[in-house]
Symmetry: C2
Subunit: 212 residues, 2 copies
Amino acid sequence: MKIGILGTGNVGRTLAARLVELGHDVVIGTRDVAATEAKAEAEFPAPLRTAPEAAAHAELVINATGGQVSVAALQGAGAENLAGKVIIDVSNPLDFSNGFPPHLAVCNTDSVGEQIQRAFPDARVVKTLNTVNAEIMAYPAKLADGDHTIFVSGDDADAKATVTQLLREFGWLDIVDVGDITTARGTEMMIIQWVRLMGPLGTLAFNYKLVR
Amino acid sequence: MKIGILGTGNVGRTLAARLVELGHDVVIGTRDVAATEAKAEAEFPAPLRTAPEAAAHAELVINATGGQVSVAALQGAGAENLAGKVIIDVSNPLDFSNGFPPHLAVCNTDSVGEQIQRAFPDARVVKTLNTVNAEIMAYPAKLADGDHTIFVSGDDADAKATVTQLLREFGWLDIVDVGDITTARGTEMMIIQWVRLMGPLGTLAFNYKLVR
């Protein structure tokens, strides 16, 4: 699949590397290609393009930018390049401006997933993967042989089916469709507990298994 | 242990029944004993008392009132009857005033757990059990032989040790101390995902196992 990833941080890089490994045609979108290359500490796992080029290239776009800047980053990619496409939103609106613990810039009655869907009504947003760190997102089998849960939220059933297939390629075994895009509130709000568990658990490699 | 439970709803009743079964000396506190008895559809599993009587009786108080009225309910029990005591807070501030899905009346930068600790600085508040329904709170072994996780938040290590012991009596096997009372934000915010999972899962008998 032709995939455009927006975001050049750890999440974007890790997902890009994994998708390349799985045989997908991946490009990474960034606002300023030259500037991103100049400050990069390591080679990128997929070609860098401008955000509009990356989105135009893609059948499926992954938002791996910070939740507070996601709508702006996607606007930079151009609504016309996103129309009709699946957008996987893996972001969380973590705000560290008051230090640790962070709070969420949006929550409770709204979410980044919903903000993106409202801003790009012709795109088909699927919120997923935002409840775990980058390594577990891309390589779920590294934890407990993959016996743990990932959630999917979105308004479009076909888009969720496409994303579910991609999650299976990553190695996800327990994929739970929570419902429409408003259920992104729940998974985004779970990140506050995640952030507080890091310390006591002494690792970032953890997740939940939904027991029922 | 002498235990006073504030709250006569499903959570209070279920916890009372379980604690009586475990041999504890339990009373249930309510604002108006006669009124609560008059409207009760079933016998209570432990004697009803006024809230101040229930708190005065107790070495350990359980707040099983709704999160939005918890501080007021505890004030009704009297700060002097709570001083020095462990308060287990199992509440969530779910607000259904706009229908379904509910939102939280407090979250993100505060929590009911913290509100109670601030209102009763001489009490030792431990937030726990608020991530599951009443049946699973009291009988964790009914789900997956108890192989799932419950969280504990609070400022007082001795209070958390007392509560952890009580949770073990209930049958909890995986008890995770997340940290101080501000970590109650994380577990209270998890309830939004819980509320949205009810429908897709078709049951209230579910929980997370923390995989690490």
